[in-house]
């Protein structure tokens, strides 16, 4: 990482109280602090992570613009139900004209394509669910599920990890053994089992999978936070706080956590990609969302009926597949760049 690209000679220096000359902090450093500034600069100078950022931002835009990109059939209908063009069993090719229950044609459509009638841009699945609609609105499902699962998992991990790391001893031992028990399950299988158990309770939808993914997704965060807290609690300022008689809870919340949490938060937020891929796998296997819900894995699962003729019905797998891979790729590219920046061995 070329942090030296910021030429120190070009910057003004100022004199500190104890007589040192230090470079004037840049505007970015003033705004977010030197360490975060280094991370942001590192991300923005790496072509791979910039590509990742562009891809992720693209998905956020698609999600925000979903009603304009793919208008629902009726304004009153649940927008996450993919509109159907009849009920025929045979999938239709991309570009075939929409015949029954045609949704309103978006305003940009005629300008871009020169046509007036609304078509199935990416074709339909069997049962005539529109693939294009499923992908556009599936972006919202993906982002919602990803962010929800990561933050809920982070929250649990934060509680377990900070108690474990801060108090140590027997508390630490017990909590870490429990964590190991959760880790003894292969992630996908555990999520699969719990979703299967929760489906009768909640009905099909995103909730069984979301709860299952959170229940088996917090352990990594707990361990990382525990490690960071173990390091932070030995710092002098924690000792000072203790000498002036601060209570445990206050030391943990005000002094230790804020200084230990940054790395974990950043790394956790990048798990959104991986979480969404697993969520899609659950839907693909059949314990996720219901048929016709705007969710990428759900759309792809239609391909299972056409294993022998996938060359004819390629669009069922290719379009939602591209969406999933791009989504995962975007987050992983940022994550890869970030790991480089945060890696202490890479620091100069």
């Amino acid at each position: 990482m070329t942090t030296s690209a910021v030429a120190p000679t070009a910057r003004k220096r100022y004199k500190t109280d104890d007589g040192f000359f230090l470079p004037e902090p840049s505007r970015l450093e003033k705004a977010v602090g030197p360490e975060s500034a280094r991370v942001i600069r590192g991300l923005l100078t790496n072509p791979l992570s910039v590509t990742g950022l562009v891809v992720v931002i693209f998905f956020f835009i698609v999600a925000a613009a979903a009603p304009v990109l793919a208008p629902p059939f009726q304004a009153t209908a649940d927008p996450y139900q993919i509109p159907r063009d009849g009920f025929g069993p045979t999938p239709q090719e991309p570009g075939s004209v929409w015949k029954r229950d045609v949704p309103p044609v978006p305003f940009w459509y005629e300008g871009v394509t020169g046509k007036q009638e609304w078509v199935h841009l990416f074709g339909t699945t069997s049962g005539q669910f529109d693939i294009y609609y499923g992908i556009v609105w599936g972006t919202r499902t993906a982002l919602l599920v990803g962010i929800l699962v990561v933050f809920a998992g982070l929250f649990i991990g934060l509680i377990v990890g900070s108690i474990s790391g801060y108090y140590g001893g027997a508390t630490d031992d017990i909590l870490m053994r429990i964590t190991e028990v959760f880790m003894a399950f292969p992630f996908l299988l555990a999520a699969l089992t719990l979703s299967a158990i929760l489906v009768p309770l909640f009905g099909r939808g995103i909730w069984p999978s979301v709860i299952a993914l959170v229940s088996f997704g917090w352990m990594g965060y707990a361990r990382v936070i525990r490690g960071d807290i173990l390091a932070t609690k030995e710092r002098d300022y924690v000792l000072s706080a203790r000498t002036i008689g601060a209570k445990d809870g206050k030391i943990l919340l005000r002094h230790v956590l804020p200084n230990a949490i940054f790395t974990t938060m950043v790394l956790a937020s990048l798990d959104v990609g991986a979480i969404v891929l697993t969520f899609a796998a659950l839907s693909f296997l059949g314990v996720g969302t219901d048929i016709g819900y705007a969710d990428w894995g759900q759309v792809i699962s239609f391909a299972r009926s056409y294993i022998l003729s996938l060359d004819t019905y390629w669009y069922i797998i290719v379009f939602p597949g591209i969406a999933l891979v791009l989504f995962g790729l975007g987050w992983n590219l940022i994550g890869d760049g970030l790991r480089d920046v945060l890696d202490p061995r890479m620091k100069k």
Partner: protein
């Protein structure tokens, strides 16, 4: 060292114990009637039958009684016999498999074991090789390609990759069919003259001297093997690469170069053995990857192993079958981690285990 292994061996049943509690707690989410339905072979026809099962298995008793019953079996009030009990290898009845769960698992195990054995060769061989190549050519074109390859691999969901290769290599070209054997090969295998020593088709075929059956079995496994490997390569490549890079930066490597050791020997004799130590740990994770992977891979390729049975069970909410598989896997996983840890200690004398 011995003390460490002993301590881990004591910990092992503790973790398995924790796993059983967790599984049991998950089951508690279901109501007694729903759990009663899990024990009945047919779909329950009337309320009375469900009540009888609830009574028979004590599903309305306090939780710790239920746990003991679930673990070592409950005493049947009418006959005085012990029925059920996970520890007595009674994992319940599989609704989707229409046979006891333990029978289903044992019957499906050989197919999955065969797939896993054949997958390990390309996973370890190619993954490690790519990582070393990337590290030696640090920051050159090969390294960049390997890096992108690895990130793309991370981002490819198993089922999308599997369906894509099926589309290209089966639907379009017909080269590699799904399933486990072709019809003609099934006839040979099930014929009286063919002895099934191991139930692993490839090995049985070789032992019986039927090379055509061997090739047919491999042909069916080719796409699943590629799918399983591709996902693990991404991880192995990355770990091997960074470990190798770190080793190549060590002082003893500089010393070796300074005293004129050929670059080939520096890499092969001095760096590689040390760099591969962390990789050994990751091969434990590869087992995890395989266990996760077979569920989806076998479903996509219609391969009759454990994974596809579990996926089918999960879809029809046949919880007992899924739990049986999870219990089996968790035990396997804990064992694999133990073996890896011990191996690590043997490989690296610097790890004087605490």
């Amino acid at each position: 060292m011995t003390a460490y292994i002993l301590r881990r061996l004591v910990q092992l049943p503790l973790t398995v114990f924790g796993v059983t509690i967790l599984i049991f707690l998950m089951l508690q989410i279901l109501s007694p009637a729903e759990r009663a339905a899990l024990y009945i072979k047919d779909i329950p026809k009337n309320e009375a039958q469900i009540d009888r099962v609830i009574k028979r298995y004590g599903l309305d008793k306090p939780m710790y009684v239920q746990y003991v019953n679930w673990l070592i079996g409950a005493v049947d009030q009418d006959t005085g016999d012990r029925v059920g009990g996970v520890l007595r290898a009674d994992l319940g009845y599989s609704r989707t498999g229409r046979e006891p769960v333990i029978d289903l698992l044992l019957r499906r195990l050989p197919a999955t074991a065969e797939l896993a054995i054949w997958s390990f060769i390309p996973i370890l061989g190619i993954g490690i090789w790519l990582g070393i190549i990337a590290a030696i050519n640090h920051n050159k074109l090969i390294d960049q390609i390997a890096r992108v390859f690895s990130i793309v691999g991370y981002s490819f969901p198993t089922f999308v990759f599997g369906l894509l290769v099926l589309m290209l290599f089966y639907a379009k070209t017909g080269w590699f069919p799904p399933g486990r054997l072709s019809d003609w090969a099934v006839q040979i295998v099930s014929a009286p003259g063919f002895t099934q020593y191991t139930n692993l088709n490839t090995f049985d075929a070789l032992l019986n001297g039927r090379f055509d059956v061997f090739l047919d079995a491999l042909r069916h496994m080719f796409l699943p093997i590629i799918t399983l490997s591709y996902l693990s390569w991404a991880l192995l490549l990355r770990v091997t690469r960074s470990s190798m890079l770190e080793t190549l930066g060590q002082d003893y490597i500089r010393t070796a170069r300074a005293k004129g050791v050929a670059e080939k020997d520096v890499v092969n004799q001095h760096a590689r053995p040390n760099a591969l130590i962390p990789v050994a740990t990751i091969s434990g994770l590869t087992v995890v990857g395989l266990l996760n992977g077979v569920v989806i891979t076998e479903t996509v390729f219609n391969y009759p192993g454990l994974g596809s049975a579990v996926a089918a069970a999960a879809v029809s909410l046949d919880v007992l079958t899924v739990l049986g598989f999870v219990l089996f896997n968790a035990t396997l996983l804990i064992l694999a981690n133990l073996i890896v840890d011990v191996m690590y200690a043997f490989l690296d004398p610097r790890v004087r285990l605490r």
